[in-house]
Symmetry: C2
Subunit: 296 residues, 2 copies
Amino acid sequence: MSSGFAAETVLRSRSKTVIIGRSRPFCVIGERINPTGRKKFAEELRAGELSAVAHDAVTQVEAGADVLDVNAGIPLVDEAALLAKMLQAVQAAVDVPICIDSSVIEALEAGLSAYEGRPLVNSVTAEDDRLSEILPLVARHGAAVIGLANDETGIPDTPAARLECARKIVSAAHDHGIARDDVVIDPLAMTVGADPSAVRTTLQTISLIRDELGVNMCLGASNVSFGLPQRHALNAAFLPMAMAAGLTSAIMSTAAPVVDAVRASDLLLGHDEWGANWIAAHRARQATLIQESPVP
Amino acid sequence: MSSGFAAETVLRSRSKTVIIGRSRPFCVIGERINPTGRKKFAEELRAGELSAVAHDAVTQVEAGADVLDVNAGIPLVDEAALLAKMLQAVQAAVDVPICIDSSVIEALEAGLSAYEGRPLVNSVTAEDDRLSEILPLVARHGAAVIGLANDETGIPDTPAARLECARKIVSAAHDHGIARDDVVIDPLAMTVGADPSAVRTTLQTISLIRDELGVNMCLGASNVSFGLPQRHALNAAFLPMAMAAGLTSAIMSTAAPVVDAVRASDLLLGHDEWGANWIAAHRARQATLIQESPVP
C-alpha cells in the first residue's frame, strides 16, 4: 500500500535553496553546533565566545553539509538570546539553510525572528500541548518542522504506533495551515547498544511512514552508535540502510566516512544518475591531492 | 506475506563449520582467488605457479573471510585439472569452507572430488539443461549450491520474474533430493553505472525472495560498483542495504572498509548481540596498534 504522495520540503538561506525529497540526493544536516556533550564548547558559549560556532559552520559545509543544525541548550543560560546570537554567527559564516533546534518555545521564537530565510524547526512531538504551542509559531513564520514520532506516553516500541504519532502530527499541522510537504517526521533512532532490535524497529518505521504518509523524514543518525567503539563505521553502515528504506535526511556527523556512505548511497539508489556527483567529487579530491603533493 | 521458513546452510572444511542463516552474522565469501581481470595471476596459474593462491587464501581469511571462492576460469586451460590443484593449495593453506566456482561441469566434478568437506557449488541457473546437469552432481556430493535467478531468456528485469527463477531452482533441487536449506539464491547484482535502477531492483528482489521463499542468498557484491571510482566506498554502502533487505552472504572484497561495513551491519541488525564481536575486534585492533608502536 502506498499513499502515492512524495513530499518536497523547501528550505532557504539568504540566497540558497535546499529541497528535501525522495528522488533527490540525501539532505545532510550537520549535527556539530550543539553544546550537548561538548564541555569546552559549552563553556565558550556561556562566556559569549562564538568563534567556534563560525568555525564549525564552515568546516561542516566544507565537509558536505547541506543544512546546519544549531542548538543552544545549556543549563541556566538564556537560551533564546544565545540561540539568536549563534544563528547570526552561523549566517555570517556560511550561506546554507538552518535547522533551529530547541525544546524551549521562547528560544524557537527568538531563533525564527533572527533567521533570514526558510528554516526547519526542530522539533514538535505528537503531544497535544507541544502541537498547540509550536505549530502556530511554525505557521506564522512560514517554516518547515520536524515532528518526533512520540507522544505523552513516551517513545512507542512498534512501527505502527510511531506511524500513528506521525499521522497525528501531519493532521495537526494541516489544521494549522502547514502543508504535508513541510512536515518532516523523525522516526526515532535509538541506540543499538541498549536494544539489539532498535535499528530494525527504526528501519521498519521508515518504510511504513514512506508508504503510508509519503512525508520526508529526518533522524539523529549518531544515536544508533552511542556508547560503542568506532562510531563512524557504525553510522556509515546505518545510513545506507535507512536511505534504502526511505529516509530523506539526517542530523549527522560530517566525518568523511559517514558523508561518503551517504553520497555512495545516493548513487546506488539512483539519486545521482550516472554518478555525476560521485565522479565530480572524486576528481576534485584527486586534484587536491595533486596540488598538495610536493614539487619534485 | 512471509513463507515463515528461514534457511540454514551448513558448509564445512576439514575441521571447521560455517552456517549461513538469517539470524547469524553475515557470511563473507572472499572473491579474490579468481583469474578474471587479474592478468599476472592468470599467467602464474597457467604456468602452474600456485603460491599466489595460498597467499590470497591466507590474507583473505586474516581479513575476515568466512569462506573462500575459488575459480580457475582461464581460456584454453584444462580448468578441471587447474581447479583441483587450486583447491588443494587453498585447503593446505587455510581451514575454511570453499565455494567451488565454475561454469564447466567437468571442473565442478573435479573440484567436488578434490574437496574435503561440504562446499558451496557456484553455480546453477534456472536453465533446464544446467539444472539437469549440475543438480545431480551437487546431490551426489552432498553439497550446497548457488542458484542464479536467471534462465534461458537472460536476466529478468523485474524482482517478480527473478523470484520465479528462484522458485524453479528450489523446486528442481527438491526433485533431486536437495533440501531448500542447501539452495542459496543469487538475486543478481548488476552494475549501477550501466543502469541507475539496478541496485533498487536487486534490493527489491532480495526482500521478495526472503519473504516468499525464506532461502539464503548470496551475490557478487563488487559488481554494483564496476567501472566507477572509489569502489570500496560504494561496496561498503551497498552491503548494509542488501543485508537490511535480507541478504545473508556475498562473494566480496575483503578490503577493510567493506568487511567493516558488514560487521557493523551485523551489529545494527541484531546479529551480533550487545556488539560482542564488534567490541572484541576493536580491542584486538587496539592491542595490535599498541604492540606495533615503538618503545619510547
